[in-house]
Every structure is written in C-alpha cells, then in structure tokens.
C-alpha cells in the first residue's frame, strides 16, 4: 500500500502523519508512508487544504486530522 500525507509542516500535518503511522503499525500491514511537503506536488493532487491523506492515489480526506479508526477503515478496504 502506498500512503501519502500531504502537508507543509504545521502541527496539524505532523499530527496527521503520526496518526497514520500509528494506524499502520497497529494493523501490521505493509505500507509505505510518505510525507509530502512540496507545495507544487501538494497542489498537483488537486486538494484545497492540508493535511490531506492519499491512499493508493485516492484522496481520502482533506483539511483535517482524521481519527485513527477512520484511517483503519480506509486501510482495511
């Protein structure tokens, strides 16, 4: 699985990355979590806010820090 956390580096974005990594670790799945801070690349996903979470190319949430249960639901699909 390929997970991208989009966000320049405010506290919310760091929080989102942390929660995603925790969810991945707890579910013991093989996933590559990458933080994207480059504005050009972030804009390339067509999102209007950060943090945003992209799983296998699909934008899952925009502009908020998701709850861990939500992330687990996305990961288990």
């Amino acid at each position: 699985m390929d997970i991208k956390v989009l966000g320049p580096g405010c506290s919310k974005c760091q929080n989102a990355e942390k929660i995603v990594k925790e969810a991945v670790a707890e579910m013991k799945i093989d996933a590559n979590v990458e933080k994207i801070t480059d504005m050009m690349k972030i804009a390339g996903y067509g999102v209007l806010g950060t943090p945003a979470i992209v799983i296998d190319g699909e934008v899952k949430c925009v502009g908020k820090v998701p709850k861990k249960e939500e992330i687990k639901k996305w990961l288990s699909k």
Partner: protein
Amino acid sequence: MNTKKTFYIGASAASILLWWFIYTNLLVVSKFITYSLFKIKKGTHLGSAVEFFFYDIPKVFMLLVLVVFAVGIIRSFFTPERTRNLLAGKNEFLGNILAALLGIVTPFCSCSAVPLFIGFVTTGVPLGVTFSFLISAPMINEIALGLLYGLMGWKIAALYLGTGLSVAIISGWVIGQLHMENHIQDWVKGFRANESSVQEEKLTWFDRIIYGRDAVKEIVGRVWIYIILGIAVGAGIHGFVPEDFMASIMGKGSWWTVPLAVLIGIPMYSNAAGIIPVVEALLGKGAALGTVLAFMMSVIALSLPEIIILRNVLKNRLILAFIGIVAIGILLVGYLFNMII
C-alpha cells in the same frame, strides 16, 4: 434512537443552563477569591489586578468555548470545495462580498493558503475574489470574535467583524481591478491538477456536535497559554498603570500612532490570542479605539508566515500590492474610528 436524541437535547439544554449560571456569578467568585481567600486589601493595586485576573480568565474561556463550539457547528456545513463551487465564475464585487462572508465560515488554516489559492484561481474564481477570501479567512476567526466579545463586549466585536469584512471586500476588489494576473508565479498558470473527488461525507447532527467539540479541544488546547499570559499582562496593566497613561502614547492626538500600530502588528502573529487581553487593558487606560483596532487587525490579518508561504505562488509585485492594499485598508479603519469616536 429517539431516547438517544432526547438525551443529547436534554444534556445540551442542561449544560447551557449551567454555563449561564456560572457565567453570571463570576464576579462574586472572583471577589471571593481575591479578598476572602487571598486576603488582599480592597482598593489596592494588587487587589485590583488579582480580581481582574480571576474574573477575566474564566469569563474569556467560557465565552471562547461557546463561540468556538458554535462556529465549529456552522463550519461543518461548509468545506473549501463547496466554497469554491459557490465562487467560481462569480462576477467582481458581488463575488468579493460572498468570498469575504464565506471566509468566516469555511474551515481554513494559513498553511493551506497555497493549495487553496491554486485550487481557486485555476478553476475560474477571479483573482480579486480569491484575495477577499484569503484576507477574511484568517482575520475574522472565532478566536478573535470570542475574545473580543468576552473582554470588550458585543459592540467592539461587531465593529471588528464589520470593518474586517469591509477591508477584505474592498482590498480584494481593488486587487481585482489592478489586473495583476501576470504576477502569479509562472508554474501556477495553466496548472492542471488531478481531479480529486473526495466523497462528501453525510453528517448527522450528532456528527456536527462532535465536530464542534473537536474544534473546541483543538483550538482551546492550542491557544490557552497565550490567553493566560495575555490576561496576566493585561491584569498587570489594569492594576498598576495609571489612568490615561496610554492617552499620551496611543491616544488619538498624534497622527503617526495608527501607521506605527500597523507596522508593529505585521510581524506579530503567533500571539494573536494573547494580544487581545493586552489591547483591552490598553483601551481602558486611554488608548484610542481606532489605533487599537488597527493594531489588532494588522496582527491578525497580515502575518509574516503567511506572506512567506504565499511567495510560492505570487511574484513580488503582487505580494507587495496585497500587503500595501490591506495595510491601507487597516489604516483607514484606524483613522476613521479615531475621528468619529
């Protein structure tokens, strides 16, 4: 399901009643703590400062919680995507007004300014309309409104809201009239983003209440320390600085106080939550309302970190035009209120 609903309605009503009861009795409690518990003599500088501190802190936090919660629920109805769809292709001026209003209720954090800017201008939202949104969104926020209402009353909060909206609408409109579309960074022009289609979640009222509660946790958790520091400084000023001391420095007598207040305000951003309690105390010591409003707006609306972030998408001339036009708008607000009040 119905019993659950009844429970939440009952619990909400009960907590609002409890809130109101505590809120109306705060003065009694703060007097009790100061003069009975701490045994400070009435009429002393220290007594006045301590009473102010114990009255203001719970008052401000209670109002902040209420306002942030209410705004959180309103915001759960608005997303940046919806706002963009409302603004796309709108004509100037009407679009500026709508953008400034939507700026208040759309969830926004200044580190999202770049993707939002690109998402707006590449899908047909006019440049000036985009700026009206970008000026209003950080300037008119629930923290500022909650604190202003709590410390200075609804009149000043409404004044801030009204003048803030005017600055956002007019500045955005002026930027639109300058036709500076060439001064957007080249990589943004003709930028085609992937169509992202994040499904809209269907929220129930219960979800919205949770959304409001999370907003309270996040925002109050972030700003409480600044507010306490700000109130402590404000309490010190309240108790120890002589009456009318500020009239000589920040009074309306000298013309240069307003521009100076705006200049000092631009690099100050992170302490927006702490600045309002201080400003309130200054106002009580004879500082002029216009100067104080201009200072607050400049602290909150023009921030160095946001300017640096926007350099990713704007060339220098457009950045300077943006800062200059907003600063002039704030100056006019300051002079106007020093003149009429």
